[in-house]
């Protein structure tokens, strides 16, 4: 058990290391030059070719790739993610600044998707051969297949444009003004939660279907235990584990930034930070944001596994 955990941690380290190298080399292979892009917005005459070259050299971009990478690794080991080529700010600071909106969005989407998933999952399980069950099934099929960009645009069209109920852009720092912050959050969180919510509904449905076929459940039925009681006492308990795991993992993905949704709703999270960094070829920032997303993903996965281990006693018997 302990060895397994240690082995797993080591594997995570290796995965992050290879991720860092892959990103490091890929960003430098991409056509486009960070300083050319940077100066393209400046007044004419600012930044001639020689000056751009000196900026390159100062950033160490003229050195061989492996030498650069070795330097970067050294920095990483000291917990230094480098500074943004564009704004000169430390990458860690930029990530920190974008973390709050990202987590806020991820948390809200998680809650919404859990709610939707449980609601529709139950509807699917209990509504078989009934019209509302079929309707829920159709809705879930549609939601699973809906691209999030399209979903966001549809929501903007309906709630922002036609009805004018909700703002369609930006993030309000919590505490700045109370009703504004949640109002800005609703549409992006809803958009982000549609897909995982639908997948969750299917997950719950299939788990319930299996559980309801189990002998002990049938026995309970046979003893005359009502449906609701069977569900709450036996079936749901067994469904909880995969649901919680799934939710944790979705959160792990969102924590790295939801690129599309953040773009649609001008949400200043990690996803948009990354997209902007890519457009600007801000190497250090791309590397930092990617590593952060990767690390968050792996860490939350790891936690999910540990949780799994803790929640399911049967695993210890083996």
């Amino acid at each position: 058990m302990q060895t397994a955990v240690i082995k797993r941690l080591a594997e995570m380290g290796v995965a992050l290391l290879s991720l860092s190298f892959a990103i490091f080399s890929v960003v430098r292979l991409v056509p486009g030059d960070p300083f050319q892009i940077l100066f393209s917005g400046a007044a004419p005459g600012a930044g001639d070719a020689g000056f751009l070259q000196s900026l390159h050299n100062a950033a160490g971009l003229d050195r061989p790739l492996l030498v650069q990478y070795a330097g970067y690794l050294g920095q990483l080991l000291h917990g230094n993610l480098g500074v943004s080529l564009r704004s000169g700010e430390p990458v860690i600071l930029l990530i920190g600044r974008h973390l709050a909106p990202t987590l806020e969005l991820a948390g809200a989407a998680l809650i919404l998707s859990l709610g939707m998933g449980i609601f529709f999952g139950l509807a699917l399980s209990l509504g078989r051969k009934r019209w509302w069950g079929e309707l829920a099934g159709a809705a879930v099929s549609f939601a699973v297949a809906l691209p999030s960009a399209g979903a966001g645009i549809l929501l903007i069209y309906i709630f922002g444009l036609q009805l004018g109920w909700l703002p369609t852009f930006g993030w309000v720092a919590q505490g700045w003004s109370w009703p504004e912050a949640p109002r800005h959050l609703i549409l992006p969180a809803l958009t982000l939660s549609i897909h995982p919510g639908a997948v969750l509904a299917r997950l719950i449905e299939s788990n319930l279907a299996t559980v309801l076929e189990e002998d002990y459940v049938r026995t309970a039925y046979a003893k005359g235990v009502g449906l609701v009681r069977v569900l709450t006492r036996h079936a749901l308990k067994n469904t909880a584990l995969p649901v919680v795991t799934f939710a944790a993992l979705e959160f792990g993905t969102f924590a790295g930034g939801a690129v599309v949704v953040e773009t649609v709703f001008s949400w200043p999270g990690l996803g948009r930070l990354l997209v902007d960094a890519v457009a600007n070829r801000d190497y250090a920032l791309i590397q930092g944001a990617t590593l952060f997303a990767g690390a968050a993903f792996l860490a939350i996965n790891f936690c999910a596994d540990l949780m799994y281990l803790a929640l399911d006693p049967r695993l210890r018997y083996e």
């Binding site: 056509p31 486009g32 030059d33 050319q36 892009i37 940077l38 100066f39 393209s40 917005g41 400046a42 007044a43 004419p44 005459g45 930044g47 001639d48 070719a49 020689g50 000056f51 000196s54 900026l55 564009r86 704004s87 000169g88 700010e89 600044r97 078989r128 051969k129 079929e134 309707l135 099934g137 159709a138 099929s141 549609f142 903007i156 922002g160 444009l161 036609q162 009805l163 004018g164 703002p167 369609t168 852009f169 930006g170 993030w171 720092a173 309801l212 076929e213 049938r218 039925y221 449906l227 773009t263 649609v264 001008s266 200043p268 948009r272 930070l273 902007d276 457009a279 600007n280 070829r281």
Partner: protein
């Protein structure tokens, strides 16, 4: 109960019911949406804003306080006054900091930190600083109620920081070539000596926000972005560069700003920004999406404003590649292009763009409307000219060839809507005279790299819309990203050099126009259009003027204020 329940999961269900229902739902949704869409244009104008109210047109008395929320499409790259790049950065920075001078919408210098300046000789500039200009207080360097004046030492420090190559300031390479020395004559007098007479010094200094010597000494030149302490009308309250930047009034400023707060809201999506304007979530949108302009200008709650000067957009020939090195070919191609009809198709409102006939936009000294006479649209003649150069359609496939080679090339454009549309339309027009043109739209970074490497055949680009723009677009001696055509002409170089050294505005304008004529004759660019970014402003915002580059909220001739709602 049990058997039934259990059975239900096994027994075959009503065939297909789920699928059918799903299908029907989808179809129903599609139909419903289609119905909404067809009706929408008629009913679309009804329910939009909830908070914006129509106000009486009568001139209201200026009111103090209130917040102005400005929607900008671009992320603010940095608030570092030495390293800022884009217009969006400058919009915010110039609220916090002040240069010696700023330029208004008409291109005239307005005194900021410097109240007056003179040229004792062509190489010397003497600036007299404003009495009573003070550094913002209430921060790490200047505690509350500090009254630290802006002095000549601050100006000298700032300029020396720019001129020091180690600091890698944005304007280093431009100013290091020009300025010989900077010195403080007394507490409020600065002398700048140039290496040679230089006409654009004032413009350049207009880009250099003055920073405090004390701040630099305290936090270091590299950290200025994190300590935005200036002498401007507003102080930084909170900065989230890709979401919202909040400024608050600087009560020590020599002109008291009426606005208590200025909030820059970053909304990359322009149509979303327009939505925010209409719902009252923002008060000003600096860039309206073109298609929404007719509707917003018809709305009584808003004014649509265009800045006085436009941005030059052009199609360039890469003269390093045959056959574009041949003036006759360039002339022929120019004759096959009808810019006016192209613009009609691209821009839904005339306030957005004007056809360009030369590289200097209106509002910039040297603008010459007379250049229009030098361009004719005549596809027949274009074909004749091309035939005279040996390009004929021998195999009747609709494409000209010469010595067995087809006239085919790539017209490359950045992937923004207007410029890629221009490329598409021009390509169509060129196809009509037998040229095989492929349009390639490129992501900005890749486009820049292709141009720098001289790889594109013909390309759409923009830039150089400043008083010194011609230098960087056409002077072969100044290696610059804007000089991307391989054009070399000794006569043009000479004229531009002479103009650069001519401090007399009228004489310079003449030289500028002379150079421009030569450039047009040489068909270096196919001038496309001057683009005017239209701002949408709520009527309850007073005194606001949109800006291409300098966003002035507080100046001797204006002090933006917001009517209480």
């Amino acid at each position: 109960m049990l058997t039934k329940r259990h059975g239900s999961s096994r027994a075959p269900r009503a065939p297909l019911s789920g699928r059918v229902l799903a299908g029907l739902t989808a179809i129903a949704l599609t139909v419903a949406l289609a119905a909404v869409l067809t009706v929408a244009p008629g009913t679309g104008g009804m329910v939009y804003g909830t908070t914006g109210t129509v106000l009486a047109e009568a001139k209201a008395r200026p009111q103090d306080g209130g917040a102005l929320k400005i929607a900008m499409p671009y992320t603010v790259g940095t608030l570092d006054p030495l390293h800022f790049m884009a217009d969006a950065d400058f919009h915010v920075i110039t609220q916090i900091y002040e240069p010696l001078v700023l330029f208004n919408e008409e291109g005239n210098p307005i005194p900021r930190l410097a109240t007056s300046w003179r040229n004792p000789d062509p190489n010397t500039w003497v600036f007299h600083l404003r009495k009573g200009a003070r550094w913002q207080a209430g921060n790490e360097v200047f505690p509350k109620r500090t009254k630290a004046e802006v002095t000549a030492a601050d100006v000298v420090t700032t300029l020396n920081l720019v001129l020091n190559p180690d600091n890698k300031a944005t304007f280093y390479s431009k100013l290091a070539r020009v300025i010989k020395s900077v010195e403080a004559v007394d507490k409020r007098t600065v002398k700048v000596v140039t290496q040679a007479p230089y006409a654009f010094l004032l413009e350049d200094l207009g880009h250099i926000p003055i920073v405090s010597k004390q701040v630099v000494e305290r936090v270091g030149a590299g950290q200025l972005g994190r300590y935005p302490i200036g002498s401007g009308p507003f102080k930084l309250l909170e900065s989230r560069p890709d979401n919202q930047i909040t400024l608050s009034r600087n009560d020590d400023y020599y002109l008291k700003p009426r606005l208590a707060r200025v909030i820059f809201q970053i909304i990359p999506d322009k149509s979303v920004a327009a939505m925010a304007l209409e719902s009252g979530d923002v008060d000003v949108v600096t860039q309206l999406p073109p298609l929404e302009i007719p509707r917003i200008s018809a709305d009584k709650r808003f004014t649509v404003m265009a800045p006085a000067s436009g941005s030059y957009r052009y199609i360039a020939f890469n003269q390093r590649k045959a056959p574009f090195d041949d003036l006759k070919i360039r002339e022929a191609i120019a004759m096959a292009v009808d810019i006016k009809s192209a613009l009609k198709a691209i821009f839904p409102a005339e306030s957005l763009a004007q056809p360009a006939w030369g590289p200097v936009p209106p509002g910039i000294p040297g603008y010459d409307p007379g250049l229009q006479k030098m361009w004719t649209y005549n596809p027949e003649k274009a074909r004749e000219l091309l035939a005279a150069q040996g390009w004929v359609d021998a195999d009747k496939d609709g494409i000209l060839e010469k010595d067995g080679r087809k006239f085919s090339f790539v017209l490359q454009a950045p992937n923004d809507a207007n410029r890629s549309k221009l490329a598409v339309i021009v390509a169509d027009q060129l196809k009509a005279v037998g040229l095989d043109v492929k349009v390639k739209t490129e992501e900005w970074g890749m486009h820049l790299q292709d141009l720098a490497a001289g790889q594109a055949d013909m390309f759409v680009m923009g830039g150089g819309s400043t008083p010194d723009g011609l230098l960087y677009l056409f002077h072969s001696g100044l290696v610059s990203r804007d000089h991307n055509t391989g054009f070399r002409n000794a006569e043009v170089d000479q004229l531009l050099d002479k103009a650069k050294a001519t401090t007399d505005a009228a004489a310079r304008k003449k030289l500028w126009q002379e150079a421009q004529r030569l450039i047009v004759e040489n068909r270096v660019h196919l001038p496309g259009y001057y683009e005017f970014v239209n701002a949408g402003v709520a009527k309850y915002v007073h005194d606001f003027k949109p800006a291409n580059y300098t966003l002035l909220l507080v100046a001797p001739d204006r002090n933006v204020w917001v009517e209480k709602r």
